[in-house]
C-alpha cells in the first residue's frame, strides 16, 4: 500500500479492516472519510404486552363497570394503524342521569362528610398507583391517542401522578388557600375533556375537584376513552368510595347530556373555543359554575439577542410537541427581521431531524394524528395556507403506510391576515412572520381573539419582563416553552377560556369562596 498522505493511509486501512461487510455495514461510515451512511435508528418498540385491552369497555358508574342502557358501543381506533383497538360504551341521557344521581349520592352521603385529611389520603394513594402502573398507562395512552411513547412515558404520565400528588396535599389545607374567606365544595361537577392529553386532562379535572370535596362525572373524548377507564380501575384499586368519580363515555351527545343535566353544580370543559361557546350559552340561564380551557393561537417571539439554539428547540417543542395537538402550541412564530432568514434555515435543518412514525417506537418524535377527521382538517388548512401564498416547507421524511400521519411543517412569509395566522390548526403546522421592534412584536402577538400562551426569547432581562408583561396571555414562557406543573396556574385570556387550572388559583374553580 503506497500512499504518501498519512490521513489517506489511515482511511485506506480502515477500509481494509472492514472488508467483511456485515448486514449493518459500518464500513461505509468510515470509508473515504466522508460518511455516506445515514445513522438509522433501528425501531425500538415499546412492548404492548403490559396492556390488556378489554374488547368492550363499559361505563364506570358507582364504582363498577356497567353496561350502557342502550347496549350500544362504538369503536376506538389506534390512529397509528387505523385499526380498531376496542369498543367503548355509548352513554345516553339515562346513563348520564344515573351517573349524576350516583355522584350526587356519593357527594351527600360520603364525600362531603369526609374530612379533608381522608380525601387527601385517597388522592395520595391514587398518585402512587399511577406511578406504579406508569408504563401500562403510557403504552395504552400511546395506543389510543397516537402520541409518541417518549412523551406519554416522560411527560403525560409523570404529570398525571404529580397532579394527584399535588392536589392530595391541598385537601386538608384548603382554608389556607383563601384566608379570611369561607369555602365550600360545589357539589357534583360535570367534566368534559379532549383527546389531545386524555389522561392528563382527566387528572387536571379530577384531582382538584376531589381535593375540594366535589364528586365527579367525567366524559372523555370519544376517540380516547381507554386511559380514563384504566384510571377508573386505579380508583377501584385505591378504594375510592363508589360514585365519587363516574366516567361516561360517548361523543357530543353524551357531553351535551352531561352539561345540560339539571343536577350538576359545575361544568368544567377543555376543548375547542367553538364548543366552549356553545356550553357557555347552554349554562347561561342556570346557576351552574363554568370554567373553560379553550383554544389558542399562541405567539412565539424570538428577538435577535435570544439564545438562538435554545430558542430553536423552544420553537420545535412549542409547535411539534404532541403533533401540535396542544391548546397552547406556539403556532405563530414571530422572528426579529435581523435573524429571520438564518433562523428559518436552521428551522428547516432541524425539522428534518424529527422522526415521524410509529408512536410506540421510543425514538419517534412525532406520532400519529389522533383521527382521520383531524388529519383531513389539518390537510385542508395546509392547502389553504398554500393558496393564500405562504411559503411552505416540510422535510422529505417517509411516512408509515397505514395510520394518520402528518409531516412537521411550517409556512414562512405569513401575513397576519392569513387564515394560518388566525385559526387554530391543532396540528404540526407553524406560521412564521417577522417584526422589527419589540412594540410591533407585542402588537402582533396580541392580535388574536385568543390569549392562552405566548413565548418570548431574549437574553435581556428588562426586555423579557416588559414584553412578558404586555402579552395578553395566561401563560408566558420566557426563554422556554411548554412547561407544565401542577403548582403553576394555567389558563387563558379572552376567547381562550375562563378560569385557571393548577396551583392555588385552580382551586377556586372547584370551591364556593365567600367573604366570611
Amino acid at each position: 500500500m503506497k500512499m504518501t498522505n498519512k490521513r489517506a493511509q489511515k482511511r485506506a486501512s480502515a477500509k481494509a479492516s472492514t472488508t467483511n461487510v456485515s448486514k449493518f455495514a459500518p464500513a461505509k461510515a468510515v470509508a473515504g472519510g466522508k460518511s455516506a451512511v445515514k445513522f438509522e435508528y433501528a425501531p425500538s418498540l415499546e412492548s404492548t404486552d403490559i396492556v390488556q385491552i378489554e374488547k368492550r369497555n363499559r361505563l364506570f358508574i358507582g364504582g363498577k363497570f356497567v353496561e350502557p342502557t342502550s347496549g350500544r358501543y362504538f369503536p376506538t381506533i389506534n390512529p397509528a394503524t387505523g385499526e380498531r383497538l376496542a369498543e367503548v360504551a355509548e352513554a345516553n341521557e339515562k346513563d348520564v342521569d344515573l351517573a349524576v344521581k350516583t355522584a350526587r349520592q356519593a357527594y351527600e352521603q360520603i364525600w362531603s362528610k369526609m374530612s379533608g385529611k381522608e380525601r387527601g389520603r385517597y388522592l395520595f394513594r391514587i398518585a402512587r398507583l399511577i406511578q406504579e402502573r406508569a408504563r401500562e398507562l403510557a403504552v395504552l395512552e400511546t395506543m389510543d391517542n397516537g402520541k409518541p411513547i417518549r412523551e406519554s412515558r416522560d411527560i403525560d404520565v409523570p404529570l398525571v401522578a404529580a397532579h394527584f400528588f399535588y392536589h392530595a396535599g391541598w385537601a386538608d389545607k384548603l382554608e389556607y388557600a383563601f384566608p379570611g374567606q369561607s369555602i365550600a365544595p360545589l357539589g357534583v361537577v360535570g367534566q368534559v375533556i379532549p383527546w389531545n392529553f386524555p389522561l392528563l386532562m382527566a387528572a387536571w379535572k379530577i384531582a382538584p375537584a376531589l381535593a375540594c370535596g366535589n364528586t365527579v362525572v367525567l366524559k372523555p373524548a370519544e376517540t380516547t376513552s381507554l386511559s380514563a377507564l384504566l384510571l377508573a380501575q386505579i380508583f377501584q384499586d385505591a378504594g375510592l368510595p363508589e360514585g365519587v368519580v363516574n366516567i361516561v363515555t360517548g361523543a357530543g351527545a353524551t357531553g351535551a347530556a352531561l352539561v345540560n343535566h339539571p343536577d350538576i353544580n359545575k361544568v368544567a370543559f377543555t376543548g375547542s373555543t367553538e364548543v366552549g361557546k356553545i356550553i357557555a350559552r347552554a349554562v347561561a340561564g342556570t346557576k351552574k359554575r363554568l370554567t373553560l380551557e379553550l383554544g389558542g393561537k399562541s405567539a412565539h417571539i424570538i428577538f435577535e439577542d435570544a439564545a438562538l439554539d435554545q430558542a430553536l428547540e423552544g420553537v420545535i417543542n412549542g409547535i411539534y410537541f404532541n403533533q401540535g395537538h396542544v391548546c397552547c402550541a406556539g403556532s405563530r412564530l414571530l422572528l426579529e427581521e435581523s435573524i429571520a432568514n438564518d433562523f428559518v434555515e436552521k428551522l428547516k435543518k432541524r425539522i428534518a431531524q424529527l422522526r415521524v412514525g410509529n408512536p410506540l417506537d421510543k425514538n419517534t418524535d412525532i406520532g400519529a394524528i389522533n383521527s382521520e377527521a383531524e388529519l383531513k382538517k389539518i390537510g385542508k388548512l395546509i392547502q389553504l395556507g398554500k393558496d393564500e401564498g405562504g411559503e411552505f416547507f416540510e422535510p422529505k421524511c417517509a411516512l408509515p403506510e397505514k395510520g394518520y400521519f402528518q409531516r412537521p411543517c411550517f409556512f414562512s412569509n405569513v401575513s397576519s391576515s392569513f387564515t394560518l395566522s388566525r385559526v387554530e390548526i391543532f396540528g404540526p403546522v407553524l406560521a412564521v412572520s417577522t417584526f422589527r421592534t419589540a412594540q410591533e412584536a407585542v402588537v402582533k402577538a396580541n392580535d388574536t381573539p385568543y390569549g392562552l400562551a405566548a413565548g418570548v426569547w431574549s437574553e435581556k432581562g428588562a426586555k423579557i419582563h416588559k414584553v412578558a408583561g404586555q402579552l395578553k396571555a395566561g401563560v408566558v414562557w420566557a426563554n422556554t416553552y411548554n412547561k407544565f406543573d401542577p403548582s403553576a396556574p394555567f389558563g387563558g385570556y379572552n376567547e381562550s377560556g375562563w378560569g385557571r387550572e393548577g396551583g392555588r388559583h385552580g382551586l377556586s374553580a372547584y370551591l364556593d369562596v365567600r367573604g366570611k
Binding site: F24, A42, A307, Q310, E345, K362
Partner: protein, 319 residues
C-alpha cells in the same frame, strides 16, 4: 448575543459574534439524547463507529516508550483479531476497526510513529505546554514544531485560559493562529478546557474564536480537569460548528475528551452529532472521542451482541 472584535494575521478586523446560550435549555436538549434508544443493528453500527473515532491517549509523567508501544498495539487491534473472530463467528460480524489516533506527549511521538507504521492510525501529540498552557508562546511554538517534526499528524493544543478569562481574546486568537501555522500539514485540535471556562456562554465564544483562528477540530478538555466532556458542553460546541459551517462552508471537527467511559455514553454522543450536525460529521475525520477507557466497554457490548453473554472486564487488555 456577544460580539468581540479580532484582528487577524493580515491585520483585518473580524467580528466574532456568538449568540447567547441558555444553560437550562442546553441541558434539556442534551438530556434528550440520553432518551434515544439505539438497539440491534444501529447499536452495532454506532459501536463500531465509536471505536474508529477513538483517540487512545496516555498523558502521564510516567509514560515510557514501553507503555506507548503497548497503547499503539491496542490502537491497531483493540482486541486480538483471532480472539474476536472466534467470538464473532456465529454472527458474522466484521473485524473490530482500529482506532483513529494515539494521543501522547511530544517526547513519545517518535515511539508512536514507529509503532504505528503502516497502520493508518494517526499520531496526535499534545503540545503548547499541555495541560496548563502556562508558558511563553515561543515555548509553545517549539513544542509544536518538535512534535510535528517527529512525525505527529495531529496537534492537540490548549488555549490560554488565563488570557481568555481575563478578556484577552486577541491573545488567545493569536496563539491559536500561530500554532496553526507551526502545525504545517498536521491537523490542529484546539482544547478549550471547558471545565475551567465557567459558563456555556464562554464555551460558545471560545469555540468561535478557535474556529476563526484556524482550528481544524475543537476539543472540550485535557482530561486533567473536572468536569471534562459533558453532553451539554459538547452540544454547545457542535452548535458553534454548525453555525460556523453555515457561515463559512468549512467543516470543523469535534472532540469531546475525558469523562466518557461507557458505550452507552458514546452512543448518546453519536446521536447528538447525528441530530445536530448530520451524518456528514459521523466520520473520524470530523468527530473523535478522547476516551480510552470507553474502548473496552464498547468491546464488551460488541461481545455481548456477538455472543448473547455479558462479558467481564478482564476479557480485554487494559491498554
Amino acid at each position: 448575543m456577544r460580539s468581540v472584535s479580532m484582528i487577524d494575521k493580515e491585520g483585518r478586523s473580524l467580528a466574532v459574534v456568538v449568540p447567547a446560550v441558555d444553560e437550562v435549555g442546553a441541558i434539556e436538549r442534551a438530556d434528550f439524547f440520553t432518551k434515544r434508544s439505539i438497539k440491534k443493528d444501529s447499536k452495532l453500527h454506532a459501536l463500531y463507529l465509536a471505536i474508529s473515532m477513538c483517540d487512545l491517549t496516555t498523558l502521564e509523567g510516567a509514560d515510557t516508550p514501553g507503555r506507548v508501544k503497548q497503547l499503539c498495539e491496542k490502537a491497531r487491534h483493540p482486541v486480538p483479531p483471532d480472539v474476536f473472530a472466534s467470538v464473532a463467528r456465529t454472527k458474522n460480524l466484521p473485524p473490530i476497526p482500529s482506532v483513529a489516533a494515539v494521543c501522547i506527549y511530544p517526547s513519545m511521538v517518535s515511539v508512536a510513529v514507529k509503532a504505528l507504521e503502516g497502520s493508518g492510525i494517526n499520531v496526535a501529540s499534545v503540545a503548547t505546554a499541555f495541560p496548563s498552557g502556562q508558558a511563553p508562546l515561543s515555548t509553545k511554538l517549539n513544542d509544536t514544531r518538535f512534535a510535528v517534526s517527529e512525525g505527529a499528524t495531529e496537534i492537540d493544543m490548549v488555549i490560554n485560559r488565563g488570557a481568555f478569562l481575563s478578556g484577552g481574546y486577541q491573545l488567545v486568537f493569536d496563539e491559536i493562529a500561530a500554532i496553526k501555522e507551526a502545525c504545517g500539514e498536521a491537523h490542529l485540535k484546539v482544547i478549550l478546557e471547558t471545565g475551567e471556562l465557567g459558563s456555556l456562554d464562554r464555551v460558545r465564544l471560545a469555540s468561535e474564536i478557535a474556529m476563526r483562528a484556524g482550528a481544524d477540530f475543537i476539543k472540550t478538555s485535557t482530561g486533567k480537569i473536572q468536569p471534562a466532556a459533558t453532553l451539554p458542553v459538547t452540544l454547545v460546541m457542535l452548535q458553534a460548528i454548525s453555525d460556523f459551517y453555515l457561515k463559512t462552508g468549512k467543516k470543523i471537527g469535534m472532540k469531546p475528551a475525558g469523562g466518557i467511559r461507557t458505550a452507552k455514553q458514546a452512543i448518546q454522543y453519536l446521536c447528538m452529532v447525528n441530530e445536530t450536525l448530520g451524518t456528514d460529521w459521523l466520520t473520524p475525520d470530523l468527530f473523535r472521542f478522547g476516551a480510552s477507557a470507553m474502548v473496552n466497554d464498547i468491546l464488551k457490548q460488541i461481545f455481548k451482541e456477538a455472543t448473547g453473554r455479558y462479558y467481564y472486564d478482564r476479557a480485554f487488555s487494559l491498554d
